[in-house]
């Protein structure tokens, strides 16, 4: 019976393992194969060479990284502030949390369409400005002619859509912090900012790390919101993958894009893990 006990955890893990093998590793290796092997199963780099010649490839990298570096910190800050606020446990804080997490339940395409109806020429925002008498003619928020404005519109939409996940992770983290620490800090006269920077943020580091990893990976998968608001005027890596696969019908080059996304994701996750890992503080002389 002892043997059984020893192997029991692995038996429990087996379904998950099978699931990962089937739905993660299987497509992953197929994508690698499509990216590096031609129709006759011979190793080749021609698809990558073609990828490098695609004028949209470098813009896609540029915009994907731009989204990642702007949106991730922005979301982290917003989510942190909302989390601090909700964590004060006032009356109605549960309802507020519920409202803030609604976007979690909305698919990214739907979120894109919601913001499309806000930003478009005859959309809510233009109608609102018109109603206030601020404008006489509709403003083209979503025009390729003003890429910074278009970029900002996408940023706002994506910020709304995906901040909730960061919020939930941070709230869970905040609730794990024992009140004693804060009380002790209060006793020693630490003000609000000192409490945040010396107590809360260091103790929240594990949650921040998971939130950052998840969010950055999401940023590399940004796709439907961009397509809904910008068409293909702002290329991003996942969007190009989709276009190559479904519209230009070249699964090899689509797979090259997927490989690039995987490499970038792995690289950044490794960086986060290296620099943000939470180490138990060593208290001497206690």
């Amino acid at each position: 019976m002892k043997l059984n006990e020893k192997y029991f955890p692995y038996v429990l893990l087996l379904p998950l393992l099978l699931y990962i093998l089937l739905f993660f590793f299987n497509p992953f290796f197929n994508a690698l194969k499509l990216a590096f092997f031609d129709e006759n199963n011979k190793f080749t780099l021609i698809y990558f060479r073609e990828l490098l010649r695609d004028p949209r490839f470098f813009s896609a990298i540029k915009y994907t990284l731009m989204f990642a570096v702007t949106i991730v910190p922005l979301q982290l800050i917003t989510a942190f502030l909302i989390a601090l606020f909700i964590n004060r446990n006032f009356k109605g804080s549960k309802t507020l949390l519920f409202i803030c997490s609604i976007p979690l339940a909305i698919s990214d395409l739907a979120a894109g369409l919601i913001f499309l109806s806000i930003f478009t020429e005859h959309g809510f925002l233009n109608s609102f400005f018109y109603f206030l008498g601020l404008i006489k003619k509709p403003v083209y928020f979503l025009s390729y002619e003003n890429i910074p404005l278009l970029f900002t519109s996408i940023l706002i939409a994506e910020h709304w859509r995906a901040t909730a996940i960061v919020l939930i992770i941070l709230i869970a983290g905040l609730q794990m912090i024992e009140k004693d620490y804060i009380d002790a800090a209060n006793v020693f006269g630490a003000n609000f900012f000192k409490r945040i920077f010396y107590i809360i943020i260091p103790l929240l580091k594990p949650s921040i790390q998971s939130a950052l990893i998840i969010r950055t990976l999401f940023a590399f998968q940004m796709f439907a919101v961009v397509i809904a608001l910008a068409g293909d005027m702002i290329p991003v890596l996942s969007g190009e993958t989709y276009f190559w696969y479904y519209i230009y019908r070249n699964s090899h080059i689509a797979s090259c894009y997927a490989v690039v996304i995987i490499i970038l994701s792995l690289l950044l996750t490794a960086i986060y893990l290296k620099f943000l890992t939470y180490k138990e503080p060593v208290y001497e002389n206690i």
Binding site: E121, D232, M233, I247, R249, N250
Partner: protein
């Protein structure tokens, strides 16, 4: 279970397998089975199995049966270009076609221009689709003075949309340049032939440079939403634009919904002529067809004027035979049918076909026109710096696939 029952019911009945790359979307296929094929089945005591397929499946299946010298498919329906690279697999329909003519089935002349493969007549025309220009009646008062809407030049079109912008401050012209929009068809099948008389071989000529500079100009007065739109019916209905171009299937719902608000006008003319794309599909009988006689009678049935009219009514696909009355059709459909008829009988037509034989590289062909559009028009680069690079790419594509150039390029010496 449903399928089993179905097979059981079929037992003992003759079957005819009909593979098609057309009428594949579920609603269209259902409509076609229920309203057209069932009538044929009743008359001929035969069950028609209608198989929808994409281009690749279609070609693989026909090829496989041809090579095995034994097959199930008796009738194949596809775009003119779908047949191009597998022409040897079909029988010669020359005598059958002349019999149809004797029975007073008169095909539109252009529909019989491209159905030859090495001297063989490989298909009988079946359906026709195309792209149209639509204008809201509100735009008509801004037409440049003295210009007839059906004989516009591309320059008139530019003056028209520019005039609207100057008088209303809004850009009321729209093109489907979104990710899945069809703007590439506008570029290679409408503008290129109108300005350069060819789709491909004059890709970087002086005329082409002139054309791209024209597009830059036109784009100034084009609604910027165009970069996002995939089909033009919605922006026409919401009046974000007054003038638009798109494929019939993607624009027709606007005209059907509000037929009195819109007019359809013929494609404008460039200095070489009036470029238009005709999407022609046909019916062919494979060498290995097990029931050729039934296939012949089904073709004959499908090209009857009353059946062609039914198909127009049900799907918006236009007829390929003459003498079809548009009376009694839904107002919007009638308007579309008349508009296309007017366009096809216009002067100086240059008919373009979507290239066949590129197979899985078809998507990359369209990407070239879209990329050039983004480089030159959106990023405002000089056409001379962009075109030669892409010309090499496009020629390579045709060479790699051994595909022949589509009309009108193939007729230019």
């Amino acid at each position: 279970m449903g399928n089993l029952l179905f097979l059981f019911l079929l037992f003992g009945l003759n079957k005819l397998y009909f593979i098609s790359t057309q009428l594949v979307p579920i609603e269209e296929a259902e409509w076609f089975r229920k309203n057209v094929l069932s009538e044929f089945e009743k008359r001929n005591k035969i069950k028609v199995i209608f198989l929808g397929a994409n281009y690749g499946e279609f070609q693989d299946r026909i090829n496989a049966e041809y090579k095995a010298k034994k097959g199930k498919i008796s009738l194949a329906g596809g775009l003119s270009s779908d047949f191009e690279s597998i022409g040897e697999a079909f029988i010669d329909l020359k005598n059958f076609l002349s019999n149809l003519k004797k029975k007073k089935i008169n095909f539109l002349p252009f529909a019989l221009k491209y159905n030859k493969y090495k001297g063989k007549t490989i298909y009988i025309p079946w359906l026709q689709g195309t792209y149209i220009f639509v204008a809201n009646k509100k735009a008509l008062e801004y037409l440049p003075p003295g210009v007839n809407i059906d004989s516009l030049t591309y320059n008139d079109l530019l003056l028209w949309v520019k005039g609207i912008w100057e008088k209303t401050g809004e850009r009321k012209f729209g093109l489907p340049a979104g990710p899945r929009g069809l703007i590439h068809r506008f570029l290679h099948g409408y503008l290129y032939p109108s300005f350069t008389e060819a789709q491909i071989i004059k890709f970087d000529s002086e005329d082409a440079i002139e054309m791209w500079n024209y597009v830059k100009n036109l784009w100034k007065y084009t609604n910027p939403g165009s970069a996002r739109w995939e089909k033009m019916d919605t922006p026409l209905l919401s009046e974000e634009v007054w003038i638009a171009w798109d494929h019939i299937s993607r624009i027709k719902s606007a005209i059907i919904e509000r037929p009195d608000d819109f007019v359809i006008f013929s494609s404008p003319m460039g200095k070489k002529g009036r470029g238009i794309i005709v999407v022609l599909s046909g019916l062919a009988v494979p060498e290995t067809a097990p029931s050729k006689d039934y296939a012949f009678s089904l073709i004959e049935f499908l090209v009857k004027p009353e059946i062609q009219r039914e198909i127009l009514k049900g799907t918006g696909f236009l007829p390929v035979v003459e003498n079809i009355s548009f009376e009694g059709l839904e107002k919007g459909i009638k308007k579309i049918a008349e508009g296309v008829k007017k366009q096809n009988s216009g002067k100086n037509l240059i008919v373009s076909f979507i290239p066949g034989g590129l197979g899985n590289k078809q998507g990359e062909f369209t990407k070239i026109y879209r990329d050039v559009f983004k480089e030159i028009v959106i990023k405002n680069k000089n056409p001379m710096d962009i075109l030669p690079f892409y010309k090499k790419k496009i020629i390579k594509l045709f060479k790699e696939k051994g595909a022949s150039l589509p009309p009108p390029d193939n007729e230019i010496k």
